[in-house]
Amino acid sequence: MQSCGDPKMVKVEVEFLLPSDVNLTKDGFVSLIEPHEVTDDKEEFIVVSYPLTIYRMDTERKLKLDYLNNKAVNYEKLAAVKRDFNKYFEASVFDSVFTLGSKNNSDFTSYLTMPNCFLYSEKPESGSEIGEKRIFHDATELRTELATYAQKNKGKIFILYYPYHSPSGSTEEPAESVNEVESVKKPTSTSNKANVSSTSQESANSLEEYFQKLASRDIPYESKTGLKKGILSYFTNDATIVRVNNNKETLAGGNQSISSYAESLCSTHRRVVIVEKQMSDTKISKLKVKEE
């Protein structure tokens, strides 16, 4: 904790951690000692570590370990990441960022269970959590959280930087310029959102048609967003869906809402036959369906 005059002032020390199977090369980059073969019995390890890209920075060298592709990035990009972090944290409540420590061969997975470790990624696509650890996507929110935490707790705070990992397996490079990170403050459309809005949305004219289209394998998942919203207009807010087997009602999991049921149809592709509707005014309060 720093600066007695301002209780919000927090000194944040960030440690970038390297797992034990890495080596430092002459030029300061990182290489894996062995190809990183992934096996089920290492699951606990790989799941937490991947797709974390781990940086180790100090005054002399800036290192990156890309776990999957083992590619090093250049100093400039890493410096840009550091600048961006500094910019955010120095801008308001923090007097100092990147008082960097070094910790080779650390079991960094253990940091994810520590309350003083925070995960940050500027990319919303990187998910909402790793294990049970929340990923902060908003620097302002992280700052507030850190300030709150630091007022109640003493000691070092760790921030693991968590860059976006694309499904194809390649790790996206960190932000190259301050301008890119500006978008964190004023979030623009993410690529996923952009896809949704640009994808032509399906519509339907009857409940039966909604079910048919939701379950269709021929309609892309991204085009079913409109269907999932549109079908809600047929139902009361607390309407339930009940499956009928052998002419008997069967609930699986518990009461299922129409929105959950619509989502499930996108996955199971089951054909739905409407058995009975219970109405409340003009809307359906209970729907019995038979799945085929």
């Binding site: 894996l32 190809p35 073969e37 992934v38 096996t39 089920d40 019995d41 699951e43 606990e44 790989i46 799941v47 991947y50 797709p51 776990y67 999957l68 592709n69 083992n70 590619k71 696509e125 998910g127 909402s128 959590e129 790793i130 294990g131 049970e132 499904p167 194809s168 397996g169 996923n192 896809n195 998942y221 991204e222 009361t236 607390d238 339930t240 499956r243 009928v244 087997n245 052998n246 002419n247 008997k248 009602e249 069967t250 609930l251 699986a252 999991g253 518990g254 009461n255 299922q256 959950s260 989502e263 499930s264 996108c266 996955s267 199971t268 219970q278 409340s280 309060s285 209970k286 799945e291």
Partner: protein
């Protein structure tokens, strides 16, 4: 002596009547036994539910799907289980040791598996033990499945590594219990099927 005997007999009769009344009262509010038809219906639903879980997992692991879709399927899968603390047993090809994970943690783990491509397929879904009523009033059964796991890792040079493949058979606990549920706008007691813990049955390497 005869009077004492009559008094004791009356007391015993009264106690028996009170007990019987209590039992009647408890069974009046809740229908604690499933009919044969209802059990058959839940057998069908159990197979569909297990099939659904396999479908959700297949979507969760598929690298071609968006994170939003994967997460939606994690929620759908979680909704099938009795509690968040239900677990999955995971076997290892290299050691006899088995690992146990909570179901949500497992689903997120397979979602983020670091392979270029992953495919998990369930097959041979069947009820390996019939529903039987437990002392707690719930009905318990077991479904069995086998799953193939196939994955490809992309090497540092961009070349694909040999495909990793294994087959595992697992048992899934099934529970049918009576819970409060909504019937339209009214609340009532109803039977609900839920999945329990998943355990490794046998393992073989292809």
């Amino acid at each position: 002596m005869k009077n004492w005997f009559c008094i004791i007999l009356m007391i015993v009769s009264l106690v028996s009547m009170v007990n019987a009344q209590e039992l009647d009262d408890s069974s009046e509010g809740e229908d604690l036994r499933l009919t044969v038809e209802e059990l058959d219906a839940f057998k069908q639903q159990a197979l569909r539910t297990v099939e659904d879980l396999g479908t959700y997992i297949k979507i969760i692991v598929d690298k071609a799907n968006s994170l939003e879709r994967k997460n939606n399927n994690v929620q759908l899968a979680m909704a099938l289980f009795a509690t968040d603390s239900n677990t999955v047993e995971i076997s290892s090809l290299k050691t006899p040791q088995k690992y146990v994970k909570r179901i949500r943690k497992y689903l997120i783990a397979v979602r983020d598996l670091p392979y270029q491509s992953v495919d998990i397929t369930w097959y041979g879904i069947h009820l390996s033990s019939e529903f039987k009523k437990g002392p707690d009033g719930k009905y318990y059964g077991t479904a069995s499945i086998c799953q193939t796991f196939e994955a490809t890792l992309l090497g540092a040079d961009g070349a694909k590594w040999p495909k990793k493949k294994d087959t595992t058979c697992k048992n899934i606990q099934l529970v049918v219990e009576q819970l409060n549920c909504l019937d339209g706008l009214k609340e009532k007691k109803c039977w609900v099927l839920k999945l329990g813990d998943i355990k490794v049955d046998e393992q073989r390497l292809n």
